[in-house]
């Protein structure tokens, strides 16, 4: 018992322990800040791609027809034209994504989207002239999980996922 107390009272080497602790915390803090900074940049990059896809797709698929009852001109976004064009824009932009970023899903006119207070399925969006793009991406952090399986010495690390959404409402040409 006395021996244990003596070991605890002995202050030799306490600087080493403190130094290692402080250095470890400082390095971890730095890694986290750099990784989250990159993730924040990636999120803004993905938003600009979602915007480009929505604008391009809606512009390409913008069509107008006249209703039989009211003879009013109504604008729609033709999905058969808009979706492939938006996908083409996404594929072209993928080449310029930062390292470690993957696009998991690219949904166009997703069901359940709330527009002007109304929950819409794809048909509602189609006939109301809306075109929505929702991108889900994954960022494998630069320092914490740089390898493909996102593991560090066999320990699974959480990846950073984010969703970007953009919507355009077209008017009759």
């Amino acid at each position: 018992m006395n021996k244990a107390v003596l070991i605890l009272k002995n202050k030799k080497g306490d600087t080493l322990v403190l130094s290692v602790l402080i250095i470890t915390i400082a390095i971890l803090f730095t890694v986290l800040i750099v990784d989250f900074g990159m993730a924040f940049y990636t999120k803004t990059h993905m938003q600009s791609i979602a915007d480009a896809m929505t604008i391009g797709g809606a512009s390409y698929g913008n069509e107008a027809y006249q209703t039989l009852s009211t003879q009013k001109k109504v604008a729609i976004v033709n999905e058969k034209k808009a979706k492939p064009k938006a996908q083409e824009i996404l594929n072209a932009n993928k080449k310029y994504l930062p390292v470690g970023v993957e696009v998991i899903t690219a949904e166009m006119n997703p069901t359940g989207k709330k527009i002007d207070g109304k929950v819409m399925d794809w048909q509602d969006q189609y006939y109301s002239g809306n075109f929505t793009v929702r991108l889900t991406s994954r960022y494998n952090t630069m320092f914490l999980g740089a390898n493909k399986n996102n593991t560090f010495f066999g320990i699974s690390l959480p990846e950073i996922r984010f969703q970007n959404e953009a919507r355009v409402k077209v008017s009759p040409k």
Binding site: S19, I27, T30, H45, A52, I55, N93
Partner: protein, 148 residues
């Protein structure tokens, strides 16, 4: 000899200057960490500015019918946005307008890139493992041309 050993023992037992030694051990690592944080922040901010400048420039260009007007508008808008980026050398801003006058029609694509040199506070290791005080960052966007 005995006196010499006693002298050394006394010196080792003396705790004067201990905090200085501790400080000397930890300070470089703390400064290095702060340097990495500041430099990474500078580069990330400049990269975001480049991406925004590329997007805004391209967005303005794709809705203009005339090729030359579109190109000049894009470059002017990008340079205007890049003025707000701290640490960016304004004389080094370059743009790449990836469309020709012949291909300037709907629904072709425009690939627009903005490049700039950033003067970092701390040197950054380059691709050839050489330290440099300036790093080139870029932002690229591909958009559909919306006018014929």
């Amino acid at each position: 000899m005995v006196n010499y050993i006693r002298k050394i023992r006394r010196k080792v037992a003396n705790k004067k200057g201990q905090q200085l030694v501790e400080m000397v051990v930890i300070l470089p690592i703390i400064v290095l960490c702060i340097g990495i944080i500041i430099t990474a922040g500078q580069l990330i901010f400049a990269k975001m500015a480049c991406q925004l400048a590329a997007f805004e420039g391209a967005r303005r260009a794709v809705v203009i019918s005339d090729y030359n007007t579109a190109k000049n508008t894009a470059i002017a808008k990008s340079k205007e946005i890049m003025k707000t980026a701290i640490g960016v050398n304004q004389n080094t801003i370059k743009t790449s307008f990836g469309a020709s006058a012949n291909s300037w029609k709907k629904p072709n694509m425009l690939t627009y890139t903005v490049l700039a040199d950033v003067n970092t506070l701390f040197p950054v290791i380059g691709p050839n493992y050489t330290f440099s005080g300036t790093t080139t960052v870029s932002g690229t966007i591909v958009m559909m041309i919306e006018r014929n």
